[in-house]
Symmetry: C2
Subunit: 197 residues, 2 copies
């Protein structure tokens, strides 16, 4: 089982599903999908689509175990919710989710109090895993660098997601030809993310 990390979560599911969770995600479809997926795991999800709404929602909640914040919210930045959130619920486990993540962004999020940092696409299992695992121990860190193909593919997925699936613009952002992106996308239908709903 060297690098069988095609899916993030290990076999043992820590089963520490938070009872109350705040989800900050501006995309309607993905937000609803994530909300339902988490709800299926027995978690009550309070969903906000923008920073202001999340702040208001925060004030109304009597308790909060976890929070999943999308970093990229148009003009807002999900990281700005971390401080008020932790001020009200210091024990709340916060993870940040982003379309495409960089190491610098991950450091920024962590320094602000985030527990973990995930890049899309992340399904409910990934999220629950990130909430349950303590990222401080580096035993679970990948020691082998990902293959070039894998790296490329994940990056393509992130950029594509960041551009709302627009192939033309994603190809332009990636610096490759639109035709090439088309061909590459067709070769690999969808490696993970098979979660039926």
């Amino acid at each position: 089982m060297e690098n069988a990390d095609t899916n993030g979560h290990s076999g043992d599911r820590p089963m520490t599903v938070p009872a109350s969770l705040l989800l900050l995600e501006d995309d309607d479809i993905l937000g609803r999908q994530t909300q339902r997926a988490l709800a299926r795991h027995g978690c009550q999800v309070h969903w906000a689509t923008d920073l202001a709404a999340a702040r208001r929602l925060l004030a109304t909640l009597p308790a909060l175990d976890a929070a999943v914040l999308d970093q990229n919210l148009g003009a807002d930045n999900g990281l700005d919710l971390i401080a008020p959130l932790l001020a009200r619920f210091p024990e709340c486990r916060v993870i940040v989710l982003t379309g495409y993540g960089s190491i610098a962004a991950a450091v920024a999020a962590t320094r602000r109090g985030a527990r973990n940092y995930l890049t899309k696409p992340a399904d409910a299992n990934d999220i629950l895993d990130a909430l349950a695992r303590d990222p401080g121990d580096l035993e679970a860190l990948p020691d082998a660098p990902p293959s070039l193909q894998r790296l490329e593919w994940e990056h393509i997925q992130r950029v594509l997601d960041a551009h709302q699936g627009n192939i033309s613009r994603a190809a332009d952002a990636l610096g490759i030809h639109r035709r090439t992106l088309q061909r590459r996308l067709k070769k690999r239908p969808s490696p993970k993310h098979f979660e039926r709903d």
Copy 2:
């Protein structure tokens, strides 16, 4: 010309060079090179090549402003120095340097108290920048995803570094043919890292 962020540090150099710095780097050549490069910036560098030596060195130092820790030290892990280091010098600015970095590793390092997380190759300017900048503010975060070519190139450099420049093994780790890696490396002599000494 669009994404001209070939070099990380912005034009403004914050010039807060630490007076006393601990460098933990197991590679002799790179360690010496880094030590000299930092010393040229007016910084007294205490260099250790393994974790035990670093601990001993730590006990002898009267003061410490900053630390640069290589994460990958053969059997040891540079992250394990963070805790004792901060216990003795709570104000010390610690950054972690690694051959190939992942977001998970960056999160782990940050949660353990590191101020920033860099991937090789990082020259003295990168290191001083990372020490000076506060990674909490995300204003300086890259908003545009790197091009595929750039991503590939940097990853190749990291993997190559992680394998001590061994082209055959790096190619194997990358999942590409050795001949292909050779050809790619020849096309781009060395984008950064021109710092002559």
